[in-house]
């Protein structure tokens, strides 16, 4: 890339803390599905970018699963060259408006940021916030920064599943000059970005814009096409030179306690799909998919999906939203920011409560949830202190809705159709080698179908690594990079 933009002046912002981001007031936002963090304006973004000291080691770049040149784009933002900064990000990441919102930066680039010294009261650079600003800036100014597409190689690539891993692989492969077709089982593209992540965390318009960007680059999207059912993987393998499987972790887990099939009991996937993908919060006038009028709801689990479910529930105006989790706050797997938002919005946390039974209201629907109170004992295999029951302490909460958000497994729709695709016998995840190639040579896989369930950015990172390997496979027949250093590029960072 040739950025001829002027060198930014070194006017550092010496503030110890991140420029705060304005948010919708919790009292107001629980009445709408609008976004909660409002984003930086130009001044705030520039100010925050200038906190970057452009340190020598650039640990943030290594901390980013897709290796964005973070200091470089921050410098450009500091110089108010927003278009140049976007161009810089888009060298590595096609979806800044999405990543700026849903990446767990506090565990990645921002965690390793040289500025990040809590002991000295100093916060990291607000990298995610500036990234999001750029994504939004592009949208507001109708800037389409379409990366250059290499001359056609004549090779055809199929991407199965249009979630974060699939979209990233599609973007990379089309830029490398291959003809890319993305197959999606549902009627909208985006996978979990559409059906899972709520509107108030990732507005669907942003997602659709990013998808349109891919279309502009020549990616073909085929909706309503569940590969494995509509067409066999073998047939796809014949029609295309290489296939990337990114079908996600779309099989919800249940607890296996009595009462789980009562009316009013949902998997988080169903609850979020009804509300997000199907727009059920607009029922009956803007959507035909019903969502019940909820009075009292319990969400079981404490990961990001549980927070999304609880916060979505809150916006349906119930009397109370409980969160039920069998461990303590320390073990909650959700992002700190999500936990904070849920608390701000009045979600009532019942930690160290393990669900025993969902109680029938006498009419076939859930009427209450019975929980065993727990305390923390010795650490278990995962290193977390194991919750143990406190004898005789059982509590019952009256509820009319329960959402089970304890995780999900790999979606079996494709793999069930193709036994030759080797899978982990226990988890059902697709097994891959060091370059994300499956047991079928022209089939690669990445994202949750491989990890079993991780974050959006990890899935995108895998989409990127797989795209590099597939490109080499198409051009040379060997997916490995002969010049790669041990542990260097060409090896999936998250599988080592």
């Amino acid at each position: 890339m040739s950025d001829e933009s002027p060198k930014p002046k070194k006017v550092l912002n010496k503030s110890k803390v991140k420029t705060p981001m304005r948010e919708q007031d919790p009292a107001a936002r629980i009445f709408n599905f609008e976004e909660v963090p409002l984003g930086y304006n130009e001044q705030e973004a520039t100010g925050e970018a200038l906190r970057c000291i452009d340190c020598k080691d650039k640990p943030c770049v290594a901390g980013c699963p897709v290796g964005i040149d973070i200091p470089a784009f921050l410098q450009l933002v500091g110089a108010k060259d927003f278009e140049g900064a976007l161009r810089k990000i888009k060298e590595k990441n096609f979806l800044p408006a999405i990543c700026g919102r849903v990446c767990p930066q506090e565990d990645q680039c921002e965690m390793v940021c040289t500025l990040n010294r809590p002991d000295k009261g100093r916060e990291s650079g607000g990298i995610g916030r500036v990234e999001r600003f750029l994504g939004d800036y592009a949208m507001e100014h109708n800037l389409t920064i379409t990366p250059t597409v290499a001359p056609s190689t004549g090779k055809r690539v199929a991407v199965i599943g249009s979630g974060p891993a699939g979209l990233t692989a599609a973007s990379d492969m089309v830029q490398k000059g291959h003809a890319v077709t993305v197959f999606e089982a549902l009627h909208k593209p985006g996978g979990v970005l559409f059906y899972g992540i709520p509107q108030f965390r990732l507005p669907k318009e942003i997602l659709m814009r990013e998808v349109d960007g891919l279309r502009d680059m020549g990616v073909e999207f085929v909706m309503n096409y569940p590969v494995g059912k509509a067409e066999s993987l073998d047939s796809i393998r014949e029609r295309f030179d290489v296939v990337f499987v990114s079908t996600g972790a779309g099989l919800p887990w249940f607890l296996g306690i009595p009462g789980e099939n009562l009316n009013g009991v949902y998997s988080a996937n169903e609850f979020l799909t009804r509300v997000n993908l199907m727009g059920g919060y607009k029922f009956p006038d803007g959507s035909d998919t019903p969502v019940k009028k909820i009075k009292r709801i319990a969400v079981i689990g404490a990961g990001n999906t549980a927070m999304d479910s609880a916060r979505t529930a809150k916006r349906l105006q119930p009397e109370v939203v409980y969160l039920v989790y069998r461990r303590s706050r320390l073990e909650m797997p959700a992002r700190v920011e999500e936990i904070h938002h849920a608390e701000q919005e009045g979600v009532e946390f019942n930690l160290l409560h393990s669900p025993l039974e969902l109680v029938n209201d006498g009419k076939g629907a859930v009427g209450a949830i019975r929980c065993q109170e727990m305390e923390l004992g010795e650490p278990d295999a995962s290193g977390r202190r194991k919750p143990v029951p406190i004898e005789g302490k059982v509590r019952e909460f009256a509820v009319d809705t329960v959402v089970i958000a304890i995780g999900q497994g790999p979606n079996p729709l494709l793999t069930a159709d193709c036994p030759e695709l080797t899978r982990d016998p226990k988890k059902g995840t697709i097994l891959i080698n060091d370059v994300m190639q499956t047991s079928l040579p022209n089939v690669f896989a990445g994202g949750d179908i491989v990890t079993g369930g991780a974050t959006v950015i990890l899935a995108m990172g895998q989409g990127r690594v797989a795209a590099d390997a597939m490109h080499r496979y198409l051009m040379t027949g060997d997916p490995r990079d002969p010049f790669a250093q041990a542990g260097g590029s060409g090896v999936c960072p998250n599988l080592m």
């Binding site: 309503n224 509509a230 009956p284 035909d288």
Partner: protein
């Protein structure tokens, strides 16, 4: 990929047959499988079991009854229009034995699915008896199509307006007790009917497959709305079914689950009717 409607046929009051262009579903679909469709961008995802298909022509046939807002809107579509979204074939196909005597018991709109089942059973060299039930004569559908394929066809109507008066279960029991050696029964129709068909075959130890019709959202195993209890275990009808061993199915739970959204479905339909009335009144006033 547009899914154009190429033929519309009214089979009975409020019951329509659509033949739709869908080459890959026509190619891959089998008896017992279903599709999911939407009628517009605000529409719900509705599962419909495949009636027949023509791989040569690249079309599939769906039969539906107008019972709610979505099916009413669907019923208004004409030849040449397209189905907004159509995905499939989903679910597992009916398990088709060979060289057996199989009785297919259908009721109401379920008879549309008996049709491809009888066809598949005959192609696999089975003796096939169809028992088709309807509330009254004018609601009986696809009799000629099924009669042309089955070795024997028995009709029952609740009111006795056609065929034998009474329930399909009586016809089935009489058939078995009359000495017909029945190896297997496949049933599709209203849940209560399927429950009693399964209850009727149980004493005779005749394996009975029931094609279930729970509520679904995505239909691809993602949400679990369609979960049913079979043999004490939770199963997802969309990916593990929709057909299960009828003697193991908890039909009462299925009936309860199917009723959960009835108030919302009614409200949705009422609001749709109101909108149409207002639009009609508006057209009259401002022609």
């Amino acid at each position: 990929m547009g899914n154009k409607i190429v033929r519309v046929q009214e089979l009975a009051p409020r019951t329509r047959l659509f033949e739709i262009e869908a080459p890959h579903i026509a190619q891959r679909g089998k008896a017992g499988q279903f599709v999911i469709l939407r009628v517009n961008d605000e529409g719900e995802r509705v599962p419909l079991t495949l009636a027949s298909r023509d791989p040569g022509k690249g079309t599939i046939t769906l039969v539906f009854q107008e019972v709610g807002k979505t099916t009413e809107m669907l019923g208004r579509l004409q030849v040449g229009q397209e189905i907004h979204d159509l995905a499939g074939p989903l679910g597992k196909p009916t398990e088709i034995p060979t060289g057996k005597t199989v009785v297919c018991v259908g009721g109401g709109i379920g008879n549309a699915v008996v049709w491809p089942q009888v066809q598949a059973l005959k192609e696999a060299g089975n003796r096939c008896i169809a028992i088709l039930g309807a509330r009254t004569k004018e609601l009986l559908i696809l009799e000629d199509e099924i009669r042309a394929l089955a070795d024997e066809t028995i009709i029952t109507t609740d009111d006795g307006s056609y065929g034998r008066k009474g329930m399909v279960t009586h016809a089935l029991t009489d058939l078995i007790e009359g000495g017909e050696k029945v190896d297997e029964v496949i049933t599709i129709g209203p849940v209560v009917m399927m429950k009693f068909v399964c209850r009727a075959t149980q004493p005779f130890g005749i394996p009975t497959q029931a094609s279930l019709n729970p509520l679904m959202v995505d239909g691809t195993g993602m949400c679990g709305a369609c979960r049913v209890t079979v043999g004490g275990k939770t199963r997802f009808a969309c990916v593990e079914g929709p057909e299960f061993d009828g003697h193991q199915v908890d039909f009462d739970e299925l009936i309860t689950r199917l009723a959960y959204y009835q108030p919302e479905e009614r409200a949705s339909l009422d609001s749709y009717h109101r909108c149409r009335l207002e639009a009609a009144a508006d057209r009259l006033q401002n022609p």
